[in-house]
């Protein structure tokens, strides 16, 4: 029995279902909130005003901390229905007020930026993709693995409060191709 009971997480369930549908194996997973103990997501240095990037960093870190796999090529796929809508809304407000936008907003204006943070922190050298659908994201991961662009893929889904009702949420899975997958014949290399 854990001290804090786990909480239901539809985003994580969706990632697992999409992985199965794409023929991938989930080797580990994490979510935010994962238990009742998860209150405010920890801040992430260099990223301001929005939970988007801190959520991505936190759920990814929960998977990657202590992981053995430094010799593997890991792709990162971020799935988000709207992108960082919190930051986009703030930038629009600055622009409409005729004010200068805080420079840090520039650096977090695309979901790639936090992926760059993750990749540097955890040495993830595989391709980077950000797409809007969970199934699409998992299909991207499956193709990258099938074509040996990556050995595995970290797929992170972010659901900000605006799309998920009561609170900001995120989930992540680390997926690999099935070991017994029959790889179609190939040309070139």
């Amino acid at each position: 029995m854990t001290v804090s009971s786990p909480v239901a997480h539809p985003g994580l369930d969706a990632l697992h279902a999409a992985a199965v549908a794409a023929g991938l194996t989930v080797s580990s997973s994490a979510s935010w909130p994962q238990s009742q103990a998860d209150g405010e997501v920890p801040a992430l240095a260099g990223f301001i005003d929005s939970a988007f990037s801190p959520l991505v960093a936190e759920v990814a870190g929960r998977i990657l901390r202590g992981r053995d796999g430094q010799d593997r090529v890991t792709a990162v796929v971020v799935v988000t229905a709207l992108g960082d809508v919190t930051s986009a809304t703030r930038v629009a407000a600055f622009v409409d007020a005729g004010r200068r936008v805080p420079p840090l907003q520039f650096f977090q204006s695309v979901p790639n930026s936090v992926v760059g943070h993750l990749a540097a922190r955890w040495h993830l050298t595989g391709p980077v993709a950000c797409v809007t659908g969970t199934a699409a994201g998992m299909d991207v991961a499956a193709q990258l693995i099938e074509d040996a662009d990556a050995d595995e893929a970290l797929v992170v889904r972010v659901d900000l409060k605006v799309t998920d009702g009561d609170r900001d949420r995120a989930a992540a899975v680390l997926v690999t191709g099935p070991a017994d997958r029959e790889r179609p014949g190939a040309e070139g290399t």
Binding site: F107, N112, S113, G116, P127, G133, D147, A179, T189
Partner: protein, 392 residues
């Protein structure tokens, strides 16, 4: 079950499927106007399309220049138009279109940031893409939206090529769109990356940054076998593709260009060619100090001796940086130029930078008929893509 040692040793993963992938249709909008002819004549003129921005107020900005079409074109309208035109050029019937999925590269739904919170959930890029697909007569299934910054469109093209080569799809229409608007302009201005001398000077001494530009483009990517069955004439082959990550920094490229070099190498390997087979490189060439030097290092690392002879230019010096649409805009530029037999100049060049020694196309467009040409893109997050096309 995960990979065991014996399985990993026995099963060397294949890098691509066996299918040949072709581009059978393309359509585009740029600051030079609507259509491929306008774009090609614009870039071959060597005259950059940059001018003071009058589409929105730039009074509070450090820089007030971009490459824009007149007026305020509507992104959904223009995306729909290029998708239709690309499908027309490919000779797709209405039933062909109805079976073709759309991959779209955009920053976000144009109305998202100023919508009421209650309306925002319905204003995702996917709803936007679905409207474009519907208006274009494309399938409502299989739609993907890529929002991976400046590699969004090139990643979509690479992914489309990969699944078609594997036989997982017969055809994908890939479109990308960015029309210069106030929010991204303000962000790039705040990041102090816009060129305050009003010109983009890739790989040049004295380069001062990038400038944004309009870009909306679409390509029909399909199986050569299916194209042949329709008696469609390919514009080019998608010979190779590569995408990698730098694992270096949230928004700076690796100075040594390791990630981009791996993307280029993967693309060349998939194409089954050597660096000296490349007849043109349309570089990422953003015009910023760090990025151009890193890209040069990447090319030196993976092209070897061919670096001295392969013509290189960044057409961002002419049509500007089209963000999420860059990959499709620049692939179309590459394809049009190679087919025409004229390679566009690397405009804005003031003088050599020792950190950016490349065989740049300078002065006038270069007459050449490359058998293979490559388009490069890089983005925040250390994301890199390389697309290699083969010409008939």
């Amino acid at each position: 079950m995960t990979d065991g040692p014996s399985v990993a040793a026995a099963t060397v993963p294949a890098r691509r499927g066996t299918g040949t992938v072709v581009v059978t249709g393309a359509a585009v909008l740029s600051a030079y106007g609507r259509g491929s002819d306008a774009l090609l004549s614009g870039v071959l003129s060597g005259r950059p399309a940059f001018a003071p921005v009058d589409r929105f107020d730039v009074g509070a900005r450090r820089v007030g220049v971009a490459a824009t079409m007149p007026g305020s074109p509507d992104l959904r309208t223009e995306l729909t138009r290029v998708v239709r035109e690309a499908c027309d050029e490919a000779g797709l019937s209405s039933s062909d279109r109805d079976r073709s999925p759309l991959f779209v590269a955009v920053h976000c739904h144009p109305e998202l940031a100023r919508a009421a919170e209650v309306d925002q959930p319905s204003l995702g890029p996917e709803a936007f893409a679905r409207a474009v697909a519907h208006a274009s007569g494309l399938a409502q299934q299989g739609i993907r939206c890529y929002i991976s910054a400046c590699v969004a469109a090139s990643t979509a093209i690479a992914d489309a090529s990969a699944i078609i080569a594997r036989g997982h799809a017969d055809r994908v229409v890939v479109a990308g769109g960015y029309l210069v608007e106030s929010d991204q302009f303000a962000l790039f201005d705040a990041g102090r990356v816009l060129a305050d001398d009003g010109q983009v000077r890739p790989f040049s001494a004295g380069r001062r940054g990038l400038l944004l530009g309009d870009g909306v483009g679409a390509v029909v990517v399909e199986s050569a076998e299916f194209a042949r069955a329709r008696q469609a004439v390919p514009l080019a082959r998608m010979a190779g593709w590569g995408r990698t990550g730098d694992a270096y920094h949230p928004c700076q490229p690796h100075p040594a260009g390791y990630g981009l070099a791996r993307a280029v190498t993967a693309a060349l390997q998939r194409a089954g060619i050597r660096p000296e087979n490349l007849g043109y490189v349309n570089a990422h060439g953003s015009g910023t100090g760090q990025s151009d030097a890193a890209e040069t290092n990447a090319l030196r690392r993976c092209l070897g001796d061919a670096i001295a002879t392969v013509p290189v230019s960044s057409t961002k010096s002419l049509h500007g940086q089209a963000l999420e649409a860059s990959g499709v805009l620049e692939l179309i530029v590459t394809m049009l130029a190679a087919r025409k037999g004229n390679l566009p100049v690397n405009a804005g060049f003031l003088g050599a930078d020792d950190g950016c020694r490349l065989n740049l196309v300078l002065g006038d467009a270069l007459a050449a008929t490359p058998e293979y040409a490559m388009s490069l893109n890089a983005a925040f997050g250390g994301a890199n893509t390389a697309l290699v096309i083969g010409l008939p």
